[in-house]
């Protein structure tokens, strides 16, 4: 009997994997076509309602893959940002995919800046971006030039380097801060803050009973801390935060997108619209 159940389990998972493959094939092969409505319809049809994996709430928090040409609407980006009920102050880009594409990530960062988001962090589970920090920075500056063109001088980006917190590049007034994060900023960061506090206790500058949430929060944030992420856009099919800033994401909305490869501005903006529709009751 166990053999029968195992066989049925394998069939079920084979079907689910097939569904995923078909969806991603459609997403890749038809992004060139500008028939967005048709694409969304096909993708919706291919997601069997009985499995309900795409979490079809009216807010549509797990997005149906879209596509389309890169729209050249930098003038409209700023007004798009203003048109939203609320805009996140800090967006975390969580790349939960094996092979990151620097151009696409740079696009996302530049779009964030263009719509008026002040802080952007980029994270992956293996520390790839941290190790290739300068490559990512170069790509962001390049895309900033390409997408924002003549306007790029109005937008400046400050890269927070984790080792010494000095700005790498500063032009005119600072409009956006970009930080590259890795798993070392998560639990190990909390451990470092804990050690710092314990040292103060050992030196009798603090008592253990004095510690509260706000004190630990300031120890963690340091002098050039960013605000907590309001929104995390998670790219890829892995349903986890994969170690992204555990302390800081207590109230963060987590919106999943299928992939960052060939991500379009429309898909990015849909995630922002989704965020704008979220209601936070803060316990009340």
């Amino acid at each position: 009997m166990a053999v029968v159940y195992e066989f049925m389990w394998r069939m079920l998972h084979a079907l689910l994997h097939l569904q995923r493959t078909i969806l991603s094939w459609f997403r890749i092969s038809i992004w060139n076509w500008n028939w967005r409505l048709w694409r969304r319809a096909v993708a919706t049809v291919l997601v069997p309602a009985v499995f309900g994996f795409q979490n079809h709430t009216h807010n549509n928090k797990k997005l149906v893959p879209g596509g389309g040409k890169k729209s050249c609407g930098r003038v409209r980006w700023k007004s798009d940002g203003k048109s939203l009920e609320k805009l996140p102050l800090h967006v975390g880009l969580l790349i939960a995919e094996e092979e990151p594409r620097y151009t696409d990530i740079a696009n996302l960062v530049v779009w964030c800046m263009a719509v008026g988001i002040s802080y952007v962090s980029v994270y992956d589970n293996q520390g790839i971006f941290r190790r290739n920090n300068s490559r990512l920075m170069d790509e962001i500056l390049k895309q900033q030039q390409e997408l924002l063109g003549l306007d790029s001088l109005k937008y400046s980006v400050e890269f927070l380097n984790n080792s010494n917190d000095k700005p790498e590049q500063q032009v005119l007034s600072c409009q956006a801060t970009v930080k590259v994060l890795s798993p070392d900023d998560g639990k190990p960061g909390i451990v470092k803050a804990a050690q710092k506090f314990c040292q103060l206790v050992e030196q009798q500058q603090q008592r253990s009973a004095d510690l509260d949430v706000n004190m630990l929060d300031s120890l963690l944030r340091g002098t050039k801390g960013m605000p907590d992420p309001d929104l995390v856009m998670k790219f890829g099919t892995v349903d986890s935060t994969l170690g992204f800033l555990p302390w800081h994401i207590r109230l963060t909305e987590i919106i999943s997108l299928p992939s960052h490869i060939n991500i379009t501005y429309e898909d990015f903006f849909s995630a922002l619209k989704c965020y704008a529709g979220c209601e936070q009751r803060l316990g009340k």
């Binding site: 998972h13 689910l16 798993p183 639990k187 804990a194 892995v238 170690g243 555990p246 302390w247």
Partner: protein, 338 residues
């Protein structure tokens, strides 16, 4: 048992369960039981009824988990932030807790028969004293049961939990049991309220919200997160199966990520031990021995000493925690006799 509904799965549910069990199953599932008040509004009933239905749904879900051989469940029953709610709602929730914990104490035989261990996690000193005493009794009565585990997060937020863990580590330093450099991920794991549980494999949040709301932030870094739009009192066996399927689809990738993190953790600890051992040698005036064999021995000696210190500290911490419950319990026995 009032907390675990009686009943068995239907034939089709049993068949589906058996198919699912052919694959990897989560051993520990956490639930954010969201949507009671929206459910009450939907049905045009009082909020309190929404919460009561929510509790009934919890009892049903625990039954399904047992049927699916999920032996550990953690639930977010009441957040510290929820104290901000209207007084009558908070009082209503406290009254519900009072009733349910009292009922639990009447069912001790059943709990023993099924081996149910109840733990309550949170800053219990924020609760009314009579509820603290009921909780203490329930926790002590079921302490040694080990067939299945129910962790109820009550007066809990993850940031408070992590802060408390750091406080405990600092207390250890104050008592001279450990040094600041002994503080590690492992040590903080052991100082959390959830120290007796493995990290949840799967976290399910109902009602469509897509955030963690200060729940198990440390413990769910590599858990499968499933956000379902159904309201908690409407949760069904099929919703649970859907979540488990999602877990199974993510299992391989998450295992890989977890292993990577575990490897990095071991390396970090080794590096920290090397630094501390070298520092110690400097301090004792021996300098850095050129012989790698001697250096290796110094690191091993340091690691053994550190592990010894941590072990004594954790023993003292466990005694402190047990004393909190036994003192509360003594208080309730004394007042019962009076």
């Amino acid at each position: 048992m009032s907390w675990i509904r009686k009943g068995e799965l239907t034939l089709i549910e049993r068949l589906s369960a058996n198919i699912l069990k052919a694959g990897p199953m989560p051993k520990h599932v956490a639930f954010i039981m969201d949507g009671n008040r929206r459910y009450a509004r939907k049905l045009h009933v009082e909020r309190q009824q929404g919460h009561t239905q929510g509790f009934d749904k919890l009892a049903e879900t625990l039954r399904w988990c047992l049927n699916l051989e999920i032996r550990e469940v953690t639930v977010y029953a009441f957040s510290i932030e929820n104290f901000k709610r209207a007084k009558d709602e908070v009082d209503g929730l406290m009254e519900l807790a009072r009733q349910k914990f009292s009922r639990l104490l009447d069912e001790q035989e059943d709990l023993e028969k099924h081996g149910v261990c109840i733990r309550v996690l949170g800053d219990l000193t924020l609760l009314p004293l009579d509820i603290q005493k009921l909780i203490a009794q329930a926790v002590l009565a079921t302490k040694n049961h080990n067939k299945c585990f129910l962790n109820v997060c009550f007066a809990y937020t993850s940031r408070h939990e992590i802060t408390n863990a750091v406080k405990e580590a600092a207390w250890g330093v104050e008592q001279g049991l450990i040094k600041p450099c002994d503080v590690s991920e492992f040590l903080l794991d052991e100082c959390l309220y959830t120290s007796n549980s493995p990290d949840p494999d799967l976290l399910i949040r109902t009602s469509g919200e897509v955030r963690l709301s200060d729940f198990l932030l440390w413990q769910t870094t590599y858990s499968c997160l499933v956000f379902q739009s159904i309201l908690w009192p409407e949760y069904s066996f099929w919703n649970l199966c859907e979540a488990i399927l999602q877990y199974q689809l993510n299992h391989h990738a998450l295992q890989k990520a977890r292993d990577l993190h575990a490897e990095a953790r071991v390396l970090r600890q080794l590096e920290a031990d090397r630094c501390c051992a070298a520092e110690l040698l400097q301090q004792t005036g021996l300098g850095k021995p050129l012989d790698p064999q001697l250096r290796q021995e110094a690191v091993q000696k340091y690691t053994a000493e550190r592990e010894g210190r941590v072990h004594s500290f954790l023993t003292a911490l466990q005694e402190k925690r047990d004393r909190f419950f036994t003192d509360l319990n003594k208080g309730s026995i004394a007042s019962a006799k009076a």
